[in-house]
């Protein structure tokens, strides 16, 4: 169980995340949404210990994230940020194998190899697993990094805007895989999303941030409605139901 208590972060004098307290529901997809500069990515970075908070704490199983041993934490929580520029030339398989580092420290056992195989297969990369990353398209690369995180086999998977720069087909593909990870394998996924409709269609819970503070926090169906959205985005957003999915039609709205 991940619990965030009174988390605050300032860059200079400007508060980016202010007094955020939430609980992440296990075995579900939780989406962080909100306008630009709301503090979504900063919050996720602090949860995953990439960034130190100024005040407040993040608890994993009632223990402060900062007190966890770094490699033990890596077996429980994984994080994938958006910019993944590599200086080294790696094949997909080599990259995914790094996901086993917290367990094997670089010497892969047969069990590790199995995890790697599964993760690659899960992301439909088996045919091209020996290709170098710099030969891949943006979508394939993104899938390779997600495969690494899957091979890491953590209970919690945190993703920072994984759909950035992906086309519609690949975005849907990745969201479906995340859904499967939760439904089939019981993982907990926390994801920063820019597109509110992906959040609406695929997530169980939504945390909406604005100016560094939580404005809404709850199950998806309580948040995807015009009143709540107005509070978050300062826009009139009609919501329409389509095949059981709630779609926000914000394209021609006026504030």
């Amino acid at each position: 169980m991940i619990e965030i208590k009174g988390l605050t972060k300032r860059f200079g004098n400007k508060p980016v995340v202010e007094d955020v307290s939430i609980k992440i529901q296990p075995g579900a997809i939780t989406s962080f949404i909100g306008p630009n500069g709301a503090g979504k990515s900063t919050l996720l970075s602090m949860v995953s210990r990439l960034l130190d908070a100024d005040t407040g704490e993040v608890l994993l199983d009632k223990n402060d994230v900062k007190k966890w041993k770094s490699d033990e934490f890596a077996k429980r929580v994984s994080i994938l940020k958006q910019a993944n520029f590599l200086n080294v030339r790696l094949t997909i398989r080599e990259l995914v194998s790094f996901g086993r580092y917290p367990y094997s420290k670089g010497r892969l056992t047969t069990e590790d190899e199995q995890f790697v195989d599964q993760a690659i297969a899960y992301m439909n990369l088996t045919d091209m697993q020996d290709k170098f990353l710099d030969e891949l398209s943006g979508g394939q690369k993104q899938r390779a990094f997600i495969a690494m995180v899957i091979a890491q086999d953590t209970e919690y998977i945190l993703l920072d805007e994984p759909l950035n720069n992906l086309d519609m087909k690949h975005s849907v593909q990745i969201m479906k895989i995340l859904r499967k990870l939760v439904d089939d394998l019981g993982k907990t996924v926390v994801i920063v999303l820019h597109d509110i409709n992906f959040a609406s269609v695929y997530s169980d819970n939504i945390v909406a941030l604005k100016n560094g503070r939580v404005v809404k926090d709850g199950p998806t169906n309580e948040i995807i409605n015009s009143e709540a959205l107005r509070e978050i985005y300062d826009m009139n957003i009609p919501v329409q139901e389509q095949n059981g999915c709630r779609i926000c039609v914000y394209f021609n709205s006026h504030s």
């Binding site: 934490f73 200086n87 790696l90 790094f98």
Partner: protein
């Protein structure tokens, strides 16, 4: 070709260079000349590996293949110490004549400089590493300009003997210093060996490395200090050879296409030995040049750096 084959080839070439250097044209004075030559070979092997190791790991933690550890400002600290000694004590003082003392003072000063700079300033999330390096470099310039002023005031004879000290040389090395250096380096390498796997993960970048359970900030700090110790030792032993590491590390990346540090470092080390021992052989026996090898290395290294920069810019353009 497999990487293990490539490494074997490199080892063989390195051995040939060493044998050539050891036995070529040795006539008569075997008992005298051979041990002296082997001593130089020892110094070259040690410096070669120290520089190869420190450059490769330094480039991994800075995520950049055109930087050398020399941007940490450690070499300028060496110049500062030597110039101060010559200026205040003179070339015949115990600080110069007693090589242990000189060695100890230089090495302590260089490591202290690195420790103070990195131990107290370092916070990866607060001060990004390039900023730290630039600070180190500016401090180096600052000290260097103080020193260049003193150098003008030193009398020309003393200046010459100072200059010869500031240029790297493999020809005049005390055996005891060699043993001390080996000791320091073995300790450094023992730690270096343990973090080899972590370094592989480091090449994925800060965020991915932390995700995979690396204690990133501490490892970066440790590697900076480890690099400093290695550079300080090799500098105190033979003098500064600034751009050498740049050449061998990049040749190693090109020759052994891999991310594994164990292979990259071994390769870079062997290439260093070939370049140093082979280079020294050519300088001494083929060209009979009076220039020191290090001046040539800095010259070639400089050209190579500009080539790397251009290649980098072409790749992007």
């Amino acid at each position: 070709m497999r990487n293990s084959t490539k490494l074997i080839i490199l080892t063989v070439i390195a051995l040939i260079c060493i044998l050539l250097y050891g036995f070529y044209d040795i006539k008569g004075g075997f008992d005298y000349a051979f041990p002296r030559r082997m001593m130089r070979v020892g110094a070259m092997v040690i410096t070669g590996f120290a520089i190869a190791y420190s450059t490769v790991v330094f480039q991994t933690i800075t995520h950049n293949r055109i930087l050398t550890p020399s941007v940490m400002g450690i070499d300028s600290m060496f110049e500062v110490v030597q110039t101060l000694i010559f200026f205040f004590a003179g070339s015949v003082s115990i600080w110069v004549v007693n090589q242990y003392l000189n060695f100890a003072v230089s090495i302590v000063a260089m490591i202290l400089f690195a420790l103070i700079l990195y131990r107290f300033l370092f916070r990866a999330d607060k001060h990004p590493i390039y900023l730290l390096l630039l600070i180190g470099m500016i401090l180096g310039t600052f000290l260097g300009s103080l020193v260049s002023f003193l150098q003008v005031l030193i009398d020309p004879v003393e200046y010459l003997s100072l200059q010869s000290r500031l240029f790297a040389s493999f020809t005049n090395i005390k055996v005891e210093l060699l043993y001390i250096s080996i000791g320091i380096l073995l300790l450094a390498f023992a730690y270096g060996y343990r973090i080899m796997g972590q370094l592989d993960v480091m090449s994925l970048g800060r965020e991915n490395a932390i995700n995979l359970g690396i204690n990133y900030d501490r490892l970066v700090l440790n590697v900076l200090i480890l690099s400093s110790v290695l550079i300080a030792t090799s500098t105190a032993l033979v003098g500064p050879i600034t751009f050498f590491g740049l050449i061998v590390a990049n040749l190693s990346y090109q020759f052994l296409v891999t991310y594994k540090h164990s292979i990259l470092i071994l390769g870079a080390g062997l290439i260093s030995v070939i370049a140093l021992v082979g280079g020294q052989f050519i300088v001494e026996h083929i060209f009979e040049m009076n220039t020191t090898l290090s001046v040539i290395i800095n010259f070639v290294g400089g050209i190579y750096f500009i080539y790397l920069l251009l290649k980098e810019s072409r790749a992007a353009g």
